[in-house]
Amino acid sequence: MSLELEFDDGREVFATEEMTLNMGPQHPSTHGVLRFIIRADGEVMRSAKADVGYLHRSIEKIAEKVGWRGFMPYTDRVDYVAAMTTNQAWAMAAEVLGGVTVPRRGEYCRVIAAELGRICSHLLAAGAMGMDIGAITPFTHAVRERELINDLLEELCGARLTFNYMRVGGVAWDLPPGFGAKVLRFLDHFEPYVDELDDLLSNNKIYIERLAGVAVVTRERAIAYNLVGPNLRASGVKYDIRKHLPYSVYPEFEFDVPIGMGLHGSVGDCWDRYIVRLHEMRQSARILRQALEGLPEGPVIAKVPRNYKPAAGEIHVHVETPRGDQSWYVVADGTEYPYRVHIRTGSFAAMSIIEELSRGLMVADLVALIASFDIVAPEVDR
């Protein structure tokens, strides 16, 4: 038996019996452990409700128990694909509350580490985007490049994923000898590689057909749902915390903020969200070159008392992570433990808009949508 039905936007569908599908929590393309309950009519979704929390580790509660300096390694686990920027956010929150000034060389080390981390994260996003819609090869290429950065970061701080490199007051260690030259050699190799990825993936006809015009987020909806970072910029909003609410030494560097142009479909579609990240890798490379060239001499960490006790107060700290503006709300009550820490992450905002976008989308496009938002499940759950 069939029914004639209409979606909200007036499109008619040839309706058959509605099916409820379960996707996840263990699913290779959901970028971590998360689950969707899909109501579908054939291949067309009526809704996809996200069920999150499988990776909830109560990181915010842990912060209240381990103290200001002890919390740093836990911030690695908030977003383990881009731990450097989360490190930085926590360090900044603690420093502002405690009135600590980071030495200039320390800030430069942070920027170098953070931008390497950003390239790392965007490489994974771009590679996984291809893989999720069926192009396996680009993923292996992206991971190959990512390994080179992992090697560099391992040399910097001994870890390949959960870095714990930054400290309240600066960074744990100075750059190892010859590190700058190694990064430059990597960049010389990497910048042409981005063009290669462009040829291999971005302008591939099948890739464009799968992504262009799919799951368009308008500027208004992006702001209403508080999308941040590349997801927001893909919808045409030129807003980057590094540029518009500057922190660290970012004002000293020249870089552009790429936005979605709707080149193949309309502004804010899946392809735009992908291409913004590709352009951002080039900008990160630009920042890295400038940071290495202008690297000042001096200490990398300020003198911070062992028993760190910022005076009572509260702040909102914003940091541009690869998944966008990460907003930290931190309350200090004058003791050696934070009173309250709340982290609103980019993936959290992106997950909450999926239910609205899923209406009328094909089941197969849901995977493309999740990948285009670059959602990392642990960052949603914390």
Binding site: G53, H56, G313, I315, H316, Y329, H342, R344, M351, S352
Partner: protein
């Protein structure tokens, strides 16, 4: 526009529901009534001079000493590129706050998170369920007096410290 000017605008329109500017170290905010927050939010969004089109963060903080749970709304205007912090105190024994989900859809999940971890009820919320914890979880972990249950469905929530050697038998 500074926090004082925004407070003045709000006070003119909503009277006693809007408190004075509160200056904590490093941050300024305005406290409003829990029942009036939805109307005030709508005004903050739609007034062209304010135009706070984005709810960039919503956090809950338990303050047992004052008998309150404090909700902090961080608003941002992409039109004027500025932020504003709004606060609401909910009674700890009966925490109820009007939802702002209809003003900023981003509040849907953020409010669910606060409900999940602090037990604040957002009145008229369309889908107020736990977000991060399992539906049958008991208690609200981010409350300061929360005591963890010893087990959850037969799974122990404690384990022996890895730093201590087991007692000899």
């Amino acid at each position: 526009m500074k926090t004082e000017a925004i407070q003045l605008l709000l006070h003119e329109r909503f009277g006693a529901a809007v408190g004075p500017v509160e200056s904590a170290r490093l941050s300024e905010s305005v406290e409003v009534d829990a029942s009036a927050v939805a109307e005030i939010a709508l005004f903050l969004r739609d007034d062209p001079d304010l135009a706070f089109d984005c709810l960039s963060n919503l956090s809950g903080t338990d303050r047992p000493a004052r008998g309150k749970i404090q909700i902090t709304y961080e608003l941002f205007s992409y039109v004027h590129r500025r932020a504003f912090i709004l606060k609401v105190d909910a009674r700890r024994d009966r925490p109820e706050v009007a939802t702002v989900e209809n003003v900023w859809p981003a509040a849907n999940w953020l409010e669910r998170e606060v409900y999940d971890l602090l037990g604040v009820v957002f009145v008229d919320h369309s889908d107020l369920r736990r977000l991060l914890l399992p539906d049958d979880w008991v208690g609200y972990p981010l409350r300061k007096d929360y005591v963890e249950a010893p087990e959850y469905h037969g799974i122990s929530t404690v384990r022996p410290s890895a730093l201590k050697l087991p007692e000899p038998k």
